[in-house]
């Protein structure tokens, strides 16, 4: 156990065992999957038309926003070139994985996904959903992987406030809808409603993805730090599909050019 906790010699054993239990997980996942399949194949024409219509409308709106984004990105790149900074905004390789509907230890916030090292996933890889950062992979097997959510009590993610760039760390609390920001001085500029985005420090999470909204700031003059709580953006208990991203230049996370990139984000 100590070996598993402190070092990583047992990873291969764990991934071998994960192949053994894979059939069990598939079996448990089956009813939910079948239900989804039935619902899709038995949907009426009218329902499909409605869904199609709403999706098309949504795509139109998103496309319009994307046009703006492209212009902004170009402008951003131009300005950064002027400043001689190497911060990169742009596309990263992505992969969509589905959650296996299996329960894990109820006191750990972990999920199981249906992709593994055969899809070139790696340990520590960030996990997103359509709204924000969900967590990172902690064990990768050949067919399945285990991810730790950002709300697990053992998880911390470096973030910054989108409004003013104040950097801090968001800790998991063990509740699915709460993150805690420790060590914020009482005079720090932080308000309810501030958006926290990943800062990219530490080189694990890509910079600039939304993480959480600040929902409570309690400044007590008697204490050294204020109590700040935030609610994760990602739908940690509802998502069925997750996105896996590959950070660029993972080999040199500490190089100033990329490592410091997060600090210069707006």
């Amino acid at each position: 156990m100590t070996v598993d906790h402190r070092q990583h010699h047992l990873d291969s054993m764990r991934s071998a065992l994960s192949v053994v239990v894979y059939p069990l997980q598939l079996l448990v996942d089956l009813p939910g999957n079948t239900y989804d399949w039935f619902r899709e194949s038995l949907a009426t024409r009218r329902q499909l038309q409605e869904e199609n219509f709403s999706l098309r409308k949504q795509q139109l709106v998103l496309n319009t926003q994307l046009q703006k984004l492209e212009a902004l990105e170009a402008e951003n790149r131009h300005l950064r070139a002027l400043l001689d900074s190497s911060f990169q905004v742009g596309e990263r390789p992505m992969l969509i994985a589905a959650l296996l509907s299996v329960d894990m230890d109820p006191y750990r916030h972990q999920i199981e996904i249906n992709k593994g090292s055969l899809d070139k996933l790696f340990e520590g890889q960030p996990l997103l959903d359509s709204r924000g950062v969900m967590g990172q992979l902690i064990h990768v097997g050949p067919f399945t992987s285990t991810a730790m959510l950002i709300t697990d009590p053992a998880h911390a993610i470096p973030v910054q406030i989108n409004r003013n760039g104040l950097r801090t760390i968001a800790l998991g609390t063990g509740k699915l809808d709460r993150l805690e920001l420790p060590n914020i001085p009482n005079n720090a500029d932080i308000q309810v409603g501030d958006l926290l985005v990943s800062s990219g420090l530490g080189g694990r999470f890509p910079p600039g993805y939304p993480v959480a909204d600040v929902i409570e700031v309690e400044q007590d003059p008697g204490r050294a730090f204020s109590r700040v709580l935030a609610r994760p953006r990602a739908q940690l208990d509802r998502s069925r599909e997750v996105l896996l991203v590959w950070p660029e230049q993972i080999e040199h996370p500490m190089e100033p050019a990329t490592g410091a990139g997060g600090e210069e984000a707006p």
Partner: protein
């Protein structure tokens, strides 16, 4: 029980597989915290009935698989279930002779032993504590014991596992 060749290993393995499936079947969060320790119950049953076939080694293997399934530290459940199996095998003759309520209490103690070891390891690696609700699955397991016992016994008879 007539002595004979070991027989029906497949039934034992599938009973553990079913217990593991029951352990990871998705349930609403509030109910999931009451989920009894199915693998522990199955292990206790086989250790009581066939101590010469299922004992510490089986407990260890079942625990390892449980570790991978629930995402805990590799060896956490393995250590706990090995201990449970050891106690069970040492005392199997005595526990089998107990009246039902006393057997239930023994099972409660064994299930709590499992949870206690898991909790110890968790606290040692610096995970936060859980409060009294953490122990509820053991009590649920205790009340399910007579049912599980009868059910597994009928399976054991039907397939004449020995």
């Amino acid at each position: 029980m007539n002595l004979g060749r070991p027989h029906g290993g497949f039934v034992i393995i599938s009973s553990f597989a079913v217990a593991m499936v029951l352990t990871i079947v998705p349930l609403p969060d509030s109910v999931a915290r009451l989920r009894p320790d199915w693998v522990g119950l199955t292990l206790i049953f086989w250790c009581l009935l066939l101590p010469y076939r299922v004992s510490v080694g089986s407990g260890f293997v079942a625990g390892l698989l449980l570790d991978v399934l629930t995402g805990t530290l590799l060896g956490q459940h393995a250590l706990a279930l090995s201990l449970v199996a050891y106690v069970c095998v040492r005392l199997h003759a005595r526990i089998r002779a107990y009246p039902a309520w006393q057997q239930m209490l023994t099972v409660l103690v064994l299930l709590m032993l499992h949870q206690l070891v898991v909790l110890w390891v968790d606290r040692t690696i610096g995970r936060p504590g859980h409060g009294f609700a953490y122990w509820l699955p053991s009590f649920v397991g205790m009340f399910l014991w007579p049912l599980a016992y009868r059910w597994l016994l009928s399976i054991q008879r039907a397939f004449s596992v020995q």
